[in-house]
Symmetry: C2
């Protein structure tokens, strides 16, 4: 059979990894795919650098549209990132009846509905395994491996930068700022780390997983997103005293009247496997009604882990292109005409349990005031810890773990607690999940 011919948009980290894998494992991949997969052209920013990497093996240029338009390109692989021109290039490839593979989570979370509708109408495939959790085949697991299940919830460590920072804060007792600086030194965090540390990147990936899990369109604009930049080493230490680790989790959960879609720091029991995922590694825990809990773990970023998922998509597309479009795996796991309008719950309607840290003057009656306020909101306390004041201090830290309650009630309770005369500064609130069922 003739080779399938690929055009790469971008030859940076992900593009370079993809190119290297296709070259190194060419024979093994062909033994699997049934035909060879050849990169014939690439659009790059720096021609000299690209030429040094790939020699004369492929056609190089700086115009990505020329790669999309080339008559010898069967599949367009978009690894440039960013919204434009990536969006326009992918839509152009689709309009020309070309299949697309992309790792662009931001683009899919924001414009996936438009892109998948265009692909569906034109009968082409848009594959995106590399967009979520790097080398972990989580899209395939959700979309094909767990088709028997009504997915109940997903909880994922899907941002390696944040997980590295949290790991260092716990292991070394580092402050957030110091752990971030270390991550930047090691190349795990960008100079502007906002997307990673404020949960935006995780929310992109969560949006995509929720769509596939529940058969809903992309709802990135309704995701609740809270990052790790305000966490302190104290909170991590207190959590540990209660037997919990703090992880930045992306959580989506089906409830009776909609689904939750939220990214935030989360206390999870330390004996949970996912609590033991350290450094830049990613893991996704999926709860299905038939299979129970399954977990998927691996490298969430990097040249070859990302390339591993891109190439897997290329093999899939190569295999599936001869199938009639009605029998291919649907882009978003469910048939395009059978998506659901299940609404996203506002964060105020979410039920969860909480870790609260308050600082108060060491006076009689403080705990009575706090516990009365919680009781008024119907919030019951699971555990409480009051740290004795240090010599000469008159302020104490109070840590409270609550049972499950609705966020709106907790908001009211926190407002009331903060208005007590005995309180010093705001209440720190971190959500908790048992992830057990």
């Amino acid at each position: 059979m003739n080779p399938i011919r690929v055009g790469l948009l971008g030859l940076g980290t992900a593009g370079g990894g993809t190119y290297d894998i296709l070259l190194r494992n060419r024979e093994e991949i062909a033994r699997r795919a049934g035909r060879e997969i050849h990169v014939v052209a690439a659009a790059v920013r720096n021609l000299a650098k690209a030429r040094a990497k790939v020699g004369d093996a492929i056609r190089l240029g700086t115009d990505p549209q020329a790669v999309v338009d080339a008559s010898d390109v069967d599949i367009v692989v978009e690894l440039m990132g960013g919204i434009e021109p990536a969006r326009a290039l992918i839509l152009s490839a689709i309009a020309q009846g070309k299949h697309v593979v992309t790792a662009n989570k931001a683009l899919l979370a924001l414009h996936g509905n438009e892109i998948f509708a265009a692909a569906q109408a034109r009968g082409v495939m848009v594959a995106f395994e590399a967009a979520v959790a790097g080398g972990i085949p989580i899209i395939k697991a959700l979309r094909e491996g767990l088709t028997a299940n009504r997915i109940q919830w997903i909880a994922g460590i899907i941002n390696g930068t944040s997980n590295f920072i949290l790991t260092r804060m716990r292991e070394a007792g580092a402050s957030f700022a110091d752990a971030l600086a270390e991550a930047q030194r090691l190349g795990y965090a960008e100079a502007d780390p906002t997307f990673d540390i404020e949960g935006i990147d995780a929310a992109h990936k969560l949006t995509i997983m929720a769509a596939i899990a529940f058969g809903v369109p992309m709802h990135f604009d309704q995701a609740y997103t809270e990052g790790i930049s305000r966490l302190t080493a104290d909170d991590i230490r207190y959590a540990e005293q209660f037997g919990y680790r703090i992880k930045l989790l992306g959580i989506c959960r089906r409830v009776s009247d909609g689904f939750e879609l939220r990214v935030h720091p989360t206390l999870i029991p330390e004996q949970q496997l996912i609590a033991n995922v350290h450094g830049v590694m990613n893991a996704v825990l999926v709860r299905g009604d038939a299979v129970g809990s399954t977990l998927y773990y691996g490298a969430g970023a990097g040249a070859e882990p990302t390339g591993s998922s891109v190439v897997a998509d290329l093999v899939d597309v190569t295999r599936m292109q001869t199938a009639d479009p009605d029998h291919r795996v649907p882009h978003l796991a469910f048939q395009a005409n059978r998506l659901s309008d299940l609404p996203v719950l506002a964060i105020s309607a979410v039920h969860t349990s909480y870790y609260l840290r308050l600082r108060a003057y060491d006076r009689p009656g403080v705990l009575a005031d706090i516990t009365r306020i919680l009781a008024d909101q119907g919030i019951s306390i699971e555990a409480m810890l009051q740290r004795e004041p240090a010599q000469g201090e008159d302020q104490v830290d109070v840590i409270i773990l609550t049972h499950r309650t609705v966020e709106a009630g907790m908001d009211r309770a926190i407002t009331a607690i903060e208005s007590l005369a005995s309180m010093v500064g705001p209440v720190v609130r971190i959500r908790m999940e048992a992830l057990a069922s």
Copy 2:
């Protein structure tokens, strides 16, 4: 589109779970698959019991061949287990051009080469996700998710019964016999537990994973298989003192002149995620050259976890049946005409590190004799522990951890150590794996 019509061979644990899922999640599954999946007939042993479960919804009988032959059955699902008549029934379905889904690991490990050759020749699919690690979509991950990779090794906890027993021996300090009795009480172990505790079931599953990972035929007859029945609570405790857990692992590894295929108790570092997989849960750690290490975790048995994989296969087969056979996912991951004749290494040629436990009379020169014997075989010692003799005893336990060496050399060393006059009883030898790269 018309429903796809399924005939079940067996309506026990796995068959009942499959039936329940297809009924309960019928709408969700159809939204994914693009058409409904109906069970139209089942062959059972006990008609009255089956009738009580399914009512009049499907045709019931005691003759599995009649289900295979029925003109209204498109896909045959074999969940009877055992070699015959399962083998003959599957071959009969294939000969009639019907697709097959099976959870029968023993049959595939022993007769997979014959079955897949017949399916290939007839252009039908034989799907078997449920044959390995229950509800974990590990076949899909290996066969489709990691197609970019040269798989370097796989290490799996793929027998829940053994893992439960080892977990109880560690947690409760129980003896093997007591932990086995507990597993039997809880329904995790059969009255005759041989297949599970002697590693045979794990070797079946490992054989299938190795075929998919390396593109080789089934080589069950050449698998090295050692179970957990001779492990003592002492060994588990000593291992823990060095920072290791003992797990029954199925390991296949590509080496320069072939591949290893072995099931045995294994010391692994306690900080490894897979060392923290407890109870009846399963997990498979896969090392690929591009993706690095990925891990897949979930329930390895049970009605609905197994049914989850069976139904995922049904959805896959439903989708792929219109694709031309050359473009389907190959049964064993690699194209049938491109399997490799990579040989299985004898266990004596395997390189690994070792835990040794010896009992010796507490005399001068014993350690010198032992370390000289190891040095003569080129085996270097990583750590050693000598437990002081208890009051009034004249025997001591000596624990030695070695660096990597070849098994044949270790065999010679053990023979020589056991012939020392100062030794009491045989040397206990447990293999160790770092699972790091």
